[in-house]
Subunit: 335 residues, 4 copies
């Protein structure tokens, strides 16, 4: 049994995380922290949790959190997280960090894309990226895991094996993603106001979305050479789900079966990656921790199509998967 | 040709109003006013109007507005409207007021439901309610028209004729309404944040929605006796449209055909009320100025089911209908 | 450990049922039956189950089903179910029946509302209605449980305690319900074709919806007197969820707290009914087996507002709750 | 004044067409034809037209249609259209054909992509493609216009000018499109059943969508060299709208302003193409005949983002635009 706490408990990823943890037989949720006025009961913030968890969202210091829990899930904004995580680690908590703060290796790259100096640059490059399909062994013993971004997971899982195996070329990769609105978080803004985004689809942050360097870094690592993708996120009128379509060039003669075969082989033993023959829709993975992947050859180009639930495999599901690995529980427990 | 201005031009009703007015062959839109910083171009506020109207949203005084336009459409919040409309009238503009400020006859009732003292109580009770189906003759010569609320239009149109004809009893009327999200306006709030209200339906403001006294007043007038309805609005996951189901008791022996017949006769010459045999859905009236109405007898109870587009017959379409009547244009012009 | 089979495995209730049963630690799903050509693998019919369950949808006789499973969940259309359930019982299977066939006590009432002679009239009136909150003790030993309809559950749970306690009058009850589209099943029809029902809300089957006599019967039982409700279902543009608003007359002086208090007391020990103070939205219960209920007094009328997930507490969740009771498992297991 | 008829009047494009034509001051709709049993009134098929048009959907021969109307809008499936259009032309009607039958120049290409022999191969290559922005002069005198497909319009409008001006290379173009569900037509199918496609996004017909050769042909013409695009359509959970994101390689040094400038210059006098600086969403063009286009340079790649309403600029709006050109009416009349 492991005592866990959630920091930043008012958002959507925290809500999904709590729902999973309530089903997890080896977890006791002992503390919720956030900065809301009045330290409200969790059911006042998340009505769907009424009667399911009796905790308030408290104002808790890192030391107080570490006193209450062995593991802290930090659901904080970038920039903020890296100013608190070190204190949690110092207080001997292990941390799964949902923010982007520890995903990139290079503080300069962070500064360029996030328009701010990194608060904890010394740790960059040493934190494991919480994608078990690529880094499982390093997660086992980690005190801090950088939980991946939703778009990067949807792009790295289909592309990394193809780059490793040199089935596709590292140049000229296009990543065209479509996401549901929950990915934008719970703070009301005009762009996510219902009558603005309902019945509409649009591209956003073209050429400057902050998940770009994260995709670059882990694909580069898989390819063994520097990769820069063209990544375009689109906002689709639905709550949850990401569908990512990638376009890349094959290395020499490559047929559809070879691409699918490489993916199938790479993910043969993975509990949460399903390589499928059909064209998956986001609804297939809705409410689950699966990432569904298929591939097609079209006019000499390699296409991959992958989907996942951005709040689960793209966030809270992945976090619990990492937690299970860190604490030696069966990897699928609670998921 | 009539020069018109819009006050409060950044909202959804203003956007729909502009779209109608751009199609209206006898209207020139000469000014848009709002309080946004920088007085932006209308296309920056409403991208769908790009290339269609070359005006800025200016900070304009009532006198300036009246100098530019013969008729002003005031799309302002309640309370604010009644502090500006008198100045517009003094400056000789005619006004169609979208707010609730001039709909109620009694300043006490206003104060009770809107939690504020009315800024212009002397005018209450003298302003015509802009429901042409009931008050067309008084609209013709009006300098100020109180444009009806969206829910009241959907409830008064089916019920008023049945009350006038004493087909239903004035006691015990239930009005159960379902509305799209645009009715809540364009200001982002948690309740209208996409992931909160999408894929969900809920009741809101039960027993205290401000359209209640408006429905009471005009149904009472139709019945010739005091009516208090039980009105429950529900928020449905769609952009636009109101469906209102009412439940009332018949006066003696009443069959379905008698109810439908009374409605058909009452609205026989109306261009924008369609009494139909089938059960209408809000999509039937989406994008139009129609209100569709039908009726059923169920176990001795009279049911009416009516629908309209809350931004058109429930707001901007009705406003242009009133404008056409005020200026002697064909009532359907532009609609 | 109990072996279970599902009959009629291609529909939405079966899909949700399978997802629950896969999480249930005391269940083994041993057979799926349906009448599709080619007896396809379940993953071909329900892509979201890829890799999670390795069974085909077979053409199986009642005897074959009973040989493979102790308990059969029958997800069949009304009329069909009652021609197969007797054979399952004869073969010693216990059955949770999703159809309407065994919910009504009177074959005449069935014939009137379902336009057909009942295939197994002798059993009517002896089968327990699977609403554990009212009939738990009778479910324990039952060989056949009639799983309730989605609308009836949403109406009976808030109203039955108020009728039992004589807090409301049995006359003049209005039940106004709003449902998501999955309630209509998986067979494509024009009314549930996406561009027809999206962005639209409408009433349907007014005065003749088949859940009406079911609501009547169990409310009558609770009240100890004959009740006929006016029930109006509406189709809302969302996948799942039912919100039911009821209007009834209080017996004498009744305040809001008395109504809420009666509900709270009645459901104090129930794991799946949450009596709440706030106005619940269907999203609060989405993906769960909860029914959320609140109440309001409006102008002398008692209003209840309740919501649930039509595929869970309104169908498959309730079925597993019944199953757990029948087999002595903890009532919340798997849910 | 021109008398027009619609053949295939039960579908969505016909409905939108009728709505436009009812607003068109120089059009009289004289006949509607379809093959429904009972030849129902148009309001029975399209309830939103109740009270707006008093015609039945008749079974009419080409000769009968031509006798009633000067111009016929043929909203028929591919393959069917080319067996009827010749008879309409022989009977001296002018025709705007919504099907794909006359869009391609080469009967072999048609046979390959549509899996059937072309019924009227002799006419292929001689029919003008109804994209006024490229072929306005040829439309003026045409007796038959091939109305473009919705995806092709969204792809050709942004790319053709860039290819003509050699700003982008003809090789390696990716076209990633997202469409609302109405594009799939009005026949209920499982893939467009509300609970299947709501809250989900998916790719479909990858590598074999029939709009591919149409895009190829008109881009090839613009480029003066053979082009084969990689085209991937995605189904998004909304009624209407197409957003198309294209990825191509620049010819030498090209900045964002040069790309946007070329588009602005090319479309300077076009009434229905808006080259915009912001990232457009489909809602900006919803309910209009506009195609909104912008462009970005991302990591050395040229991106265009374009959107339109698939039922208007992508179908019925374009058809009326073509009609206006054919009959010498102002091009924007009714639109």
């Amino acid at each position: 049994m492991t005592r866990v706490a959630i920091l930043g408990a008012a958002g959507y990823t925290a809500l999904e995380l709590i729902k999973i943890l309530l089903r997890h037989p080896q977890v006791e949720v002992t503390a919720l922290a956030d900065r809301l006025e009045g330290q409200p009961h969790v059911a006042a913030v998340h009505p769907s949790l009424t009667g399911r968890l009796d905790l308030r969202l408290e104002h808790l210091s890192p030391a107080e959190l570490a006193a209450r829990a062995e593991c802290v899930f930090a659901c904080l904004p970038h920039g903020v997280s890296a100013s608190i995580v070190p204190q949690l680690l110092d207080a001997s908590a292990r941390v799964v960090d949902f923010s982007a703060d520890y995903r990139l290796a290079d503080p300069e790259v962070f500064a360029t894309w996030y328009n701010q100096k990194h608060p904890d640059p010394g740790r960059l490059g040493k934190v494991v990226y919480g994608l078990p399909e690529l880094f499982r062994q390093r997660i086992v013993a980690a005190d801090l895991v950088a939980n991946p971004g939703c778009f990067p997971t949807s792009a790295i899982l289909p592309l990394a094996p193809l780059l490793r195996e040199k089935i596709i070329k590292p140049e000229g990769i296009v990543v065209d993603s479509k996401t549901g609105v929950s990915g934008a978080g719970r703070t009301p803004r005009l762009t996510t106001h219902y009558p603005e985004c309902n019945e509409s689809i649009s591209a956003y942050n073209v050429g400057r979305h902050r998940h770009t360097p994260e995709i670059d870094q882990y694909l580069s690592e898989a390819a063994g050479t520097r990769i820069e993708v063209v990544f375009t996120p689109h906002l689709a009128p639905m709550d949850r789900g990401i569908l990512t379509t990638t376009y890349s060039w094959p290395n020499g003669e490559v047929g559809e079966e070879k691409v699918l075969g490489a993916l199938r082989e790479f993910y043969a033993d993975e509990p949460f990656v399903r390589v499928v023959d059909h064209l998956p829709g986001t609804k297939d993975s809705l409410g689950t921790n699966f990432c569904d992947i298929t591939a097609r050859m079209v006019r000499g180009r390699v296409l991959t199509i992958s989907c996942l639930d951005n709040l689960l495999k793209g966030a809270s599901g992945a976090a619990v998967q990492n937690f299970n690995i860190m604490y030696g529980y069966p990897e699928t427990m609670g998921l």
